[in-house]
């Protein structure tokens, strides 16, 4: 599962994408974020305030409870500031 990070999340975690294989019981976004937060202190810090984190699965926005499938492309990012 490829996980993309953007903006300050990318900077805090220190990479723009990582490939992880969470255990099979991690089947939704909420659980995935909990699991990612345990990977390193940097992950924990980047994931501290979940209320500001946006999530996309396969390049579509999803809500925190959304289900995951094997091979999904995940993206985590702070609030967008385009335009």
């Amino acid at each position: 599962m490829n996980i993309h990070y953007f903006a300050w999340m990318r900077e805090q975690i220190g990479k723009s994408v990582e490939t992880e294989t969470p255990p099979a019981h991690i089947d939704n976004i909420d659980d995935l974020l909990d699991w990612l937060a345990d990977l390193s202190p940097a992950h924990a810090e980047a994931l501290t305030d979940r209320t500001v984190i946006g999530v996309a699965v396969n390049k579509e926005f999803v809500e925190p409870g959304a289900k995951l499938e094997t091979g999904d492309e995940i993206a985590l990012f702070p609030p967008m500031t385009g335009g």
Partner: protein
């Protein structure tokens, strides 16, 4: 039509290409967003990061939505990414319609949407250091006013 690009754009050329030969367009509204140096000389650059693939998909979606909500003859969204200096152009939205009200509303709608729902992030470098631009509540409020009942 949408384009996500590092290169600058030429408003006159884009307008000509979009509406130049048309005789059925009555009203064209353009919005151009530029890198602004609020505190003279303080900002050295703004770097726009985006999510390739998702950006194009989201922009095409919102353009289609604008065309469903208003009667538009042409629409164009160009959004740049990469390192930009104060005074440089960031974004161009053009809406062309038979009627000015539709062109104005659709252009404002697209801009409000881009501010809050397009996967771009802005990093500012100034004499005070580097910092990520924070999302503004006012932008969320502006986007919310287009919410359709039940959605």
């Amino acid at each position: 039509m949408i384009r996500v690009q590092a290169e600058d754009f030429d408003l006159g050329a884009e307008m000509d290409a979009l509406t130049g030969s048309r005789k059925d367009i009555g009203a064209v509204v353009n919005f151009i967003g530029k890198v602004r140096d609020l505190d003279d000389g303080a900002l050295s650059a703004m770097t726009l990061e985006h999510y390739p693939g998702m950006t194009e998909k989201m922009l095409a979606d919102i353009e289609a939505q604008a065309n469903t909500r208003w009667e538009l003859q042409e629409t164009l969204i160009i959004h740049r990414y990469g390192r930009l200096e104060p005074g440089e152009q960031i974004v161009l939205v053009i809406t062309a319609s038979a009627h000015r009200q539709s062109a104005f509303e659709a252009c404002a709608f697209l801009m409000d949407w881009l501010k809050t729902k397009a996967p771009f992030w802005k990093l500012e470098e100034s004499d005070k250091g580097r910092s990520w631009v924070e999302a503004k509540q006012a932008d969320n409020d502006a986007a919310d006013r287009w919410q359709e009942p039940g959605s």
